[in-house]
């Protein structure tokens, strides 16, 4: 078996007395889409935020390509080619597409000034690939539709050659057409060997897009299952009751049935 692209071992995070993430271990292989499922408050967002550097972890270790990684802030995560597409589209609404795409990594002229023209050109190039209908390069992103905004967020991840992509409910704010666009894109990125962690609570979507799924409940891992070997009911059972089907590898959060 190959080395996993990402391995998060024994991750822990508490807020006050509440264990938001309680000794969770998951992994992700190249070219794989792995779902992280659970109710609101199950800890799935917190878990992935520790990988993206947005939250410091209380305990646990992260391995990237088998090597121990130190990720303490978003910059660290980026240096490991980890990109995140957040649920609430982390865009600065008052800036245009190019400024958002390059936020924190602006292209500059030899004199050190930001090179807006070059950034716009690069943005136009990548948008032609991702969303050819995108034309509004000069409006603040607050004036864009949900799908257009999402394509800016995705373009950011793609442009900087993400190897590991975290998508936090990427289709929550989107219409049918736009959701399909994101789904196609996930397929495409997957075929390029990128590992994707998909956080979602839409089981249908998970069945469609993911290879494996990790289910979380009350901060604990219920279990990991190959999506092809589990029905939607199986997944629901894991999410709601914490009951693992026979095909799943149970985690610490699974109900002990036998």
């Amino acid at each position: 078996m190959t080395t996993p692209l990402v391995e998060m071992r024994d991750m822990q995070k508490s807020f006050g007395g509440i264990k938001a993430v309680d000794h969770v271990t998951i992994d992700l292989y190249p070219g794989e889409v792995v779902g992280v499922l659970g109710h609101n408050g199950a800890g799935k967002s917190v878990l992935t935020k520790m990988l993206s550097g947005a939250l410091p972890r209380d305990g646990g270790e992260i391995f990237i390509n088998g090597k121990k990684a130190s990720i303490n802030n978003p910059r660290d995560a980026r240096s490991y080619k980890i990109e995140t597409i957040y649920q609430y589209l982390a865009l600065a609404d008052n800036l245009d597409a190019a400024s958002n795409l390059f936020l924190g990594r602006e292209l500059t002229t030899p004199l050190g000034f930001v090179d807006d023209a070059l950034m716009e050109a690069e943005t136009r190039k990548i948008m032609k690939r991702l969303n050819p209908n995108f034309r509004r390069f000069h409006t603040p992103v607050s004036g864009l539709s949900g799908g257009q905004r999402q394509s800016v967020a995705i373009a950011r991840a793609v442009y900087f050659n993400a190897k590991i992509l975290i998508m936090d409910e990427p289709t929550a704010a989107l219409g049918v057409q736009e959701t399909r666009m994101v789904a196609e894109l996930i397929e495409q990125l997957k075929s390029e060997g990128i590992g994707i962690l998909l956080i979602d609570h839409d089981i249908h979507q998970v069945k469609m897009l993911c290879d494996r799924a990790n289910v979380m409940k009350n901060g604990q891992l219920v279990g990991t299952v190959k999506v092809a070997e589990a029905s939607e009911d199986d997944l629901l059972g894991m999410i709601i009751a914490g009951k693992c089907p026979p095909s799943a590898i149970p985690g610490p959060g699974a109900i002990q049935t036998a």
């Binding site: 993206s52 947005a54 802030n73 978003p74 910059r75 980026r78 995140t84 957040y86 982390a90 865009l91 600065a92 609404d93 008052n94 800036l95 400024s99 958002n100 936020l103 924190g104 990594r105 602006e106 500059t108 050190g112 000034f113 930001v114 023209a117 070059l118 716009e120 050109a121 034309r135 603040p140 607050s142 004036g143």
Partner: protein
């Protein structure tokens, strides 16, 4: 040169996206319509006062005075834009100005002449004093920023505290005394005591015009290189023409304000020459105004063309997104308040040298004028929106209202009532405008 540029353009045009629909005059110019609105309001105010004062408002003399009265507040307003854009506020700028002014006044009346033994009006005094003032502003501003950014104390509280502290630190430094007269070279920044004269004013104007055209062509060339759609060529020339007219017009007016003959005679005497009979000389561009224009240029450059500026606006638009993009928003806060502090110090140079001495009440209520200028100039308190030129125009509009009413003979309390109403009304109009254009309010 021009022909190659033209051919380059025609070559690229087929590849460019389909031409936009025929657009209106202002749309083709791609000017911020809010800017046009502000300029319109300013012109209306000037015309009304000019009418009410039988033409005294728009004389070279009064326009000259307006510019030097505006300089101090306008300089600080440019910094307040950054502060407000990042959803903070600075209530301490007037007090900070006073502390910087006190530090500089003590430096030039006590430290350099007595402690360093340089005597009065030594050429080194002015730069030393300014350095002391700027360092004072920088350190205090950065300290405010640290309290706000790293200790997470709200800016409102930190600067409200600073408002009380620095006003009275200034009092302590000077034992509550008025300190003056200030160094002669230092006084050059005060306005009427330091102007460029006609010739140098024209040189500055020529450089500014060249700079404007260079900037316009540079940006057009850049867009053509990347095959982006560009404005029609006539629009570029209209913009350049407007800029030229504004620059030349301002300098012509300031040059038209003549130095009184008696004063001119004294100036010649001081240089040991005799004045030629019938010589007429204009004041020209005041150094304080030149300083303001320079600061406006630098601050605009920071806002639009540097990472710092990009991060300031990104943080104002969505602090969380900025943080997730790896921007150190705490350090950014320190930088913003440090810039504000330095600008307070520069304003202190202008304000104290304008009155030729340091007084305890220097800069009193300036914090409110500065905030009002930024807000009238279109800076949104909700963050993420604001322009440097807007803030300067805002300062100019407020100062025009105030001096205009004074000239008409409105009593000071009534002046403040009007200014207060105008402030609220201006923001209301801005909100209506943004609602209509669909911008964030």
């Amino acid at each position: 040169m021009l022909t190659t540029r033209m051919t380059a353009m025609t070559e690229t045009s087929p590849a460019a996206p389909p031409p936009a629909k025929p657009r209106g005059f202002f749309a083709a110019l791609e000017i911020d319509t809010r800017l046009i609105g502000m300029i319109g309001a300013f012109v209306v105010i000037c015309l009304i006062f000019n009418f009410l004062t039988d033409g005294r408002f728009m004389t070279p003399r009064n326009i000259f005075n307006l510019t030097i009265q505006t300089a101090s507040v306008a300089i600080m307003a440019t910094g307040m834009v950054f502060v407000i854009v990042t959803r903070h506020i600075d209530l301490s700028v007037g007090s900070l100005l006073a502390t910087c002014s006190a530090m500089m006044a003590m430096t030039q009346t006590l430290v350099t002449p007595e402690w360093l033994g340089l005597g009065l009006n030594h050429p080194a005094t002015m730069p030393i004093a300014i350095l002391v003032g700027v360092l004072t502003g920088l350190v205090i501003g950065a300290f405010h920023g640290w309290l706000i950014g790293y200790l997470a104390i709200p800016a409102f509280i930190v600067t409200l505290g600073g408002f009380l502290v620095w006003r009275n630190v200034a009092w302590h430094l000077t034992d509550g005394q008025t300190i003056g007269p200030l160094d002669e070279n230092f006084q050059l920044f005060g306005g009427i005591n330091g102007t460029l004269g006609e010739t140098w004013s024209w040189v500055v104007a020529a450089l500014a015009v060249l700079g404007a055209f260079y900037a316009i062509f540079q940006s057009r060339r850049n867009r053509v290189l990347h095959e982006f759609p560009v404005k029609p060529l006539w629009a570029e020339f209209v913009l350049g023409g407007v800029a030229t007219a504004a620059i030349v017009g301002l300098v012509a007016v300031l040059n038209a304000y003549e130095i009184p003959t008696a004063r001119l005679e004294r100036l010649f005497e001081a240089r040991g020459e005799t004045m030629p009979e019938g010589l007429v000389q204009g004041y020209g561009l005041p150094i304080s105004v030149l300083l303001l224009l320079l600061i406006a240029f630098i601050m605009t450059l920071i806002a639009r063309r540097t990472r710092l500026g990009r991060y300031i606006f990104a943080t104002g638009g969505n602090p969380e997104a900025a943080e997730l993009a790896g921007i150190n928003t705490r350090l950014l806060t320190v930088k913003i308040f440090a810039i504000m502090g330095v600008l307070c110090a520069i304003s202190a140079v202008v304000a104290s040298s304008r009155q030729t001495f340091h007084s305890n009440d220097i800069g009193t209520l300036d914090e409110l004028r500065v905030i009002a200028a930024a807000v009238i100039g279109g800076t949104a308190l909700s963050g993420g929106m604001g322009t440097i030129y807007g803030a300067i125009l805002g300062a100019l509009i407020m100062q025009s209202l105030q001096s205009g009413m004074a000239m008409v003979g409105v009593d000071a309390p009534y002046q403040n009532i009007v200014v207060g109403i105008v402030l609220v009304f201006a923001v209301f109009v801005d909100i209506l405008y943004r609602r209509r254009t669909g911008d964030k309010t």
